[in-house]
Amino acid sequence: MSLLKVTIDNKTIEVEPGTTILQAARMIGPDVAPPAMCYYTKLKTSGGYCRTCLVKVSKGSEKDPRPMPKLVASCRTTVMDGMEVENFTSPEVVDARNGVVEFLLLNHPLDCPICDQAGECHLQDLSYENGKSKTRNEFERRTFEKIDIGDKIQLHMTRCILCYRCVKVADQFTPERVHGVINRGEVSEISTYIQHAVDNDFSGNMIDVCPVGALTDKTFRFKSRVWFLKPVDAHRNCDKCSGKTVLWKYGQEIYRITGRKDQWGEVEEFICNTCRFDKKAPSDWTEEGPRKLSRHSVISQGHYGTKTKFVASPVTLPNKQLS
């Protein structure tokens, strides 16, 4: 089958049929890729909930050049030959996205100073780029009690934006369904249904896929802030998963372990709970070296280069008592 030509923000690329606009935009690069809160490449049927990836299709295809009547969710819309898409170049899209962010923040508490996700939170980044500094909501935000999902994962339902990613993880990695969304509309919440513990080997991945701080690692709870830690690529021989992880270290101590995330914030390979929660001794891991970070990321703050350019030659001090 022939490749389809699609133009996003005046940049053209040829992609396979069946590719979504979001995937095509990511192939072009981060300059044109719309942000996504719920879509996750490695989770089937994800996407279509959060509406942050809205784009404007100004030309439907070569055969039918009419524009699409409304903004479309780029994660769920496949490309057509000759399609022209506007993302950041369209003021309509930017305006709509600002509105979406305002909706996402309606019920999201601004407790970033307390939240363990702060510094690597997608909603924080998104609202920094698109959000208003004040809310127009005059009503109380919805609140929930904290729930323990198993003994290692904590659910802050108050922070949840209902992206369904964790539900897809539970659905697609566990044999029986124990975790889902209950209730509807404004009162819906993710739940293990009567606190039924998720004790699957891969349940910890719901922490990694959560774009906000709704699902957090209890073994890392309030231990440190992510920007004080140094991420180091490491691996170990694991019989359940690939064993390729990132160690978040403070000095020699390992504070937490996560999967490796690519430039879109998606985990490259899901890791098992043993690697994530139980192997916190430095001797368990073979380190590969510090993780590459964007220079503008808050996590790279205070991490000066690893190479020492100048090493002072040892100086022999004269025999003098200093004290």
């Binding site: 970033c112 100073p113 709870r221 309030f222 231990k223 802030r225 920007w227 808050v298």
Partner: protein, 176 residues
């Protein structure tokens, strides 16, 4: 070359005259300048007894504020430490237990909060970064000390007292 200011003097190595060679006119002129200062306002103050007026927004020793109920405002979010250009601030956070609501405002608090006053440059970026209005710089001067360890100020020196008398007024800094 054009001089940068009109105060420059062209140096020459001409021989002194007899009067100049005796140095007396120059000595008398110098003494005159010294004597004239007896009648001028002194440039210094007699420090411990006498103190200069401080600016309303003088940046001195830090204070960790409590809220109106006496609970500590700091949640150990780490933004002061990350904004600190001198890397003077360190902290360890802890989770608030049941029954400690009157001590700490939020569910997380700073178990250890230390500022190294030898590193601190009193730039005020920490209070600028604080999202909880917990840290402020006060008019107080961080005093001199003998030991290096004594310059590392922990919560015992930074947190203000609970009693109304011991509260430190920072309203002037908030009004800016």
């Amino acid at each position: 070359m054009k001089p940068l200011s009109n105060r420059s003097v062209v140096v020459s190595d001409k021989k002194f005259t007899l009067a100049e060679g005796s140095y007396l006119p120059a000595v008398i002129k110098g003494l005159g300048i010294t004597m004239s200062h007896f009648f001028k306002r002194p440039a210094t103050v007699k420090y411990p007894e006498q103190q200069r007026e401080f600016s309303e927004v003088y940046r001195g020793k830090h204070v960790l504020k409590r809220d109106e109920n006496g609970a500590e405002r700091c949640t150990a979010c780490g933004l002061c430490a990350v904004s600190c250009p001198a890397e003077a601030i360190t902290m360890v956070s802890d989770e608030r237990k049941k029954g400690e609501e009157h001590l700490y405002r939020e569910e997380k608090y700073a178990a250890i909060y230390e500022i190294n006053m030898l590193r601190c440059i009193f730039c005020g970026l920490c209070e600028e970064a604080c999202p909880k209005q917990a840290i402020f710089l006060t008019k107080e001067i961080a005093p001199a000390n003998y030991e290096r360890e004594d310059f590392i100020y922990g919560k015992d020196k930074l947190v203000e007292g609970v009693e109304p008398m011991k509260r430190i007024d920072i309203s002037k800094r908030q009004d800016r």
